[in-house]
Symmetry: D2
Subunit: 312 residues, 4 copies
């Protein structure tokens, strides 16, 4: 209960880095777009920020990487803050049991995506958000800058261009939902913003700052204000736990025991509610598309710190 | 942090009972077998047992009811204790995104059930357990008696007979898995034991005692021994969180924020790790097959006690 | 064997008209676009053209209607004539067992449509055809005019505009296939041509003339030349038999026993190989989207003329 | 029109045998049960029986083989003869678009099989037939003997025993349908009869005799009586055309152009309506489970004789 005073976080991170680095290169770097395929497979960074405002990090924690699907959490946070429960008229709250870009379930459920963290769900939430925003094109970028306190955050134009070129499956998802009335806005504009938010370049340190509100009941210590209600923060955590890692969500809950969200850029952010926010980056992915080393590092951190939400 | 001393649990339970009882009769009592359909829709009981050994209850907390799928947790606990990770060669750890008795995913994944809490998964785990037990026919009954410290627990022979008469879909699941080598034992014998375990009659009070090990790192205070490792207890909680309520698991995590397992008899057991085990019973079910009032009562209890694992 | 000499076709058509007209209004006029919903439900026309060049007709056989999916046969005929078996690298030859616009199977089979007569398949074939045509925008229109010998055929601009407005599901299909490399051209251009071909306005008489080549081994008596090989003509008939009526193909084969293709505009064209081509129009559809009266009329004609390909 | 007089069938069969035998060994002999796996891959036999009562054959046309799914045609013929359209309350008439033993569609359609020629459909029809028969255990055997005029036909006890040992997936299908009320009889008894009918040993010559009624409007020249109505015979042909070859039905229609039914024992029977019945046997199977050489031989025969029902 007094752990944050006595625990030497820095040393814990160093030990973990030592333990996991022998596994470099085991996963597979995302290669569906060239810009991601070029990332060095042996990159590794990790950061922790506690609710007491302390920050610890190791490795390439100040190196920006493509956050990809982690951006879906920004979209959901902002949409909930802006439109409240209107979100749930567009998207469900159940794990999908399918790959992140599957159309099968979408068809069975008349265009309503299972949850906000599969691609279809993120597109539906973004469409709602864009309809409730004055400058829809910059909405996620500005929010990421605000939450992390880093006005220098930008999206990688090469990655974004590459994403938009390889976005046909996502276009299919969007048009399918539009055909069912779940998406109402212009699809090309939606895809443009979606591809840019996936191409956001952020560091582990940016991420732990930006997601602190999920660790402390909606309160952002950087902004000095609550940007979500306590209930919203808790519920986003619940959704990340059940749906945050595509078809590997159950596995992540089982091994790490923390709410979190991964991206195919190799980043994972995780939340120890009431304790800390965490970010890790290592580009090699497992078969479900989640950072292999990242999960191992988080599993060890969660165990070492006794942060699992599933056990005393 | 000192809540267990000062909080008046009994009063909290009384308030919750007052709040939820106006909603009596909103759900639908399970009617796939006559014996369940006859249960009074307005039954309601709830019990809490804390890690300090205190017990509180309200309503019909000493009335036995059919625990149905809650028994799947016993099966998993015992199979993990007996055979360890061998369980995971038979069954996955991912939410299914389908109804509890669906064959669709089973076909796509060559007979390997997604998790131990859908019917197919429970059958596969039970088959493994029966192969590793001397008296397979009584294995779950004896375990339930041992864990709850109540040798008087028995299964309802009318419910069990009715189950076995209406078990064709489960038989189909079992034969399908046997055809894929996931189940290796005799199917009629397996179904017999499975139907009996679903027909176990237990009270809310029995349940909170029996599942205490999941709230305290595997340790059973009634038995005075650890019946699971800390890791196993945590992981069962993780699985209950992601998969414990059929196709309403995401919703339960979102609303209640606690690991738990429901049954179509209207019971739900939940775990506040490091704090308490909880059981509630109210036979009216929602569309996903989970007790409607039970979920509301748990949602209120979790909020009142700040027990959600997703927020400080 | 000498039936064409002695049979009074005109009288047969008159009798059928008398028999089926009491059933007017039983089906449901397509209403997914306003322009189709406005068609009079009691419209009825039918035409037969024999291999000896005789033509018979009844009712509104000179009234143009929206041929919709019947146009998929033009696309396939022309693509086979132009590119030969290259077609089969893009599309399969199996019945789908699903609705005409389903995405499910497309996902399981990596973007390859099951056959050329579901929407996805027609889009894939059209994409191939457009890549092998100098004036892709008019390719189907010109072909329909040529085959029917009617240069006055045009597409209905109101229907076409309405189609393009309601084409999101088809857009989804096209982008999905493009994401899998099955479609390589520009999707908006493809959709434009596809929606226009569906909006072709033709009469029953136009249709029986245009499809004569399928009744006489690829030879068009109007054009005075073979526009398909004998093998191609036979195989298009085989595909129409197994896949020509969406998820009602088995039923059509069972009842009518002739290869044919239906459209949601209420038209059906059918082929009695070696004997005649037939067209019928009645806008009321059954649950599978096929003209209800049209099927009944064809069933009676086939029986009366002993044209079923399944029995002596 | 006078072909049967002048065509030298025997020579045609000899030429086909010469042409196809170089392809021996290209397919894969069924090996899901040992008894089938032992069959010599280079076996080949073929027989034709015309409506004028002439019979021609080549190769091992008097060698009995395991007819497997060809037996489903007997079941349907007899069930239609006995119970008429009652059959269609149990089973659909549409191609399945799935493998022969799939459970997926069965689940989506509440236990109603798509057609009588997938395993589920054949089981449902057999269950109905057994409920309408005095000696259900021998019903198909006796019918096969009667139709072929060969009282010596029997089932292979080794194959039957092997089938029953490997019948878990079929058991799953049967129990699933029983759970949905489509099957009402005893499942073990049903499986027993089903496995025996699959194990029927018949020669090509037996088959062409037995299936003559489908080529001549329901009339059996061997029995000297009509065993089906003309309409029933035509409709069984229609069903075989759309559904007779599992997920290769469209391909068979495309290549051969005749109604037919295949079995994993390597046999195929086909019907040239009004002309002849045909049987071929060669154990090597293609990916869809249909005899590879058998299809090629039938394709050549159909072309040579101009028997395709799809072209003059």
């Amino acid at each position: 209960m007094t752990e944050s005073v006595t625990i030497d976080y820095q040393r814990v991170l160093e030990e973990i880095a030592l333990e996991v680095t022998p596994s470099f290169g085991k996963g597979k770097v995302a290669d569906y777009i060239p810009a991601l395929a070029e990332v060095c497979a042996e990159s590794f960074g990790m950061a922790v920020r506690t609710v007491t405002g302390e920050e610890f990090s190791i490795g390439m924690s100040d190196e920006p990487f493509s956050i990809q699907s982690i951006s879906k959490v920004f979209t959901l946070m902002l949409a909930l803050a802006r439109t409240g429960d209107e979100v749930w008229a567009r998207v469900g709250r159940e794990p999908s049991g399918n790959r992140f870009n599957s159309l099968v379930q979408l068809e069975h459920e008349k265009g309503v995506p299972r949850n906000p963290f599969i691609n279809a769900g993120a597109l539906a939430v973004l469409d709602l958000l864009m309809a409730n925003t004055r400058v829809p094109g910059e909405v996620i970028l500005n929010y990421a800058r605000f939450l992390s306190g880093n006005p220098g955050i930008t999206f990688d134009p090469v990655v974004a261009a590459s994403e938009i070129e390889h976005a046909d499956i996502n276009r299919a998802l969007a048009y399918f939902m539009r055909g069912h009335g779940i998406i109402t806005g212009d699809v090309p504009a939606l895809l443009e913003v979606y591809c840019r938010q996936c191409a956001l370049s952020m560091t582990c340190r940016d991420l732990v700052r930006a997601f602190m509100p999920l660790a402390q009941g909606g309160y952002s210590d950087l902004a000095g204000e609550s940007i979500l209600t306590e209930g919203q923060a808790k519920r986003i955590n619940a959704l990340m736990l059940t749906c945050g890692h595509y078809d590997g969500s159950g596995e992540f809950a089982y091994r790490v025991g923390l709410p979190g969200k991964s991206g195919v850029g190799g980043g994972i952010m995780a939340i120890a509610p009431g304790k800390a926010s965490i970010a890790v980056w290592s580009p090699g992915l497992d078969a479900s598309g989640n950072s292999q080393l990242g999960q191992t590092a988080l599993e060890r951190l969660s165990k070492r710190m006794e942060w699992s939400i599933f056990g005393a």
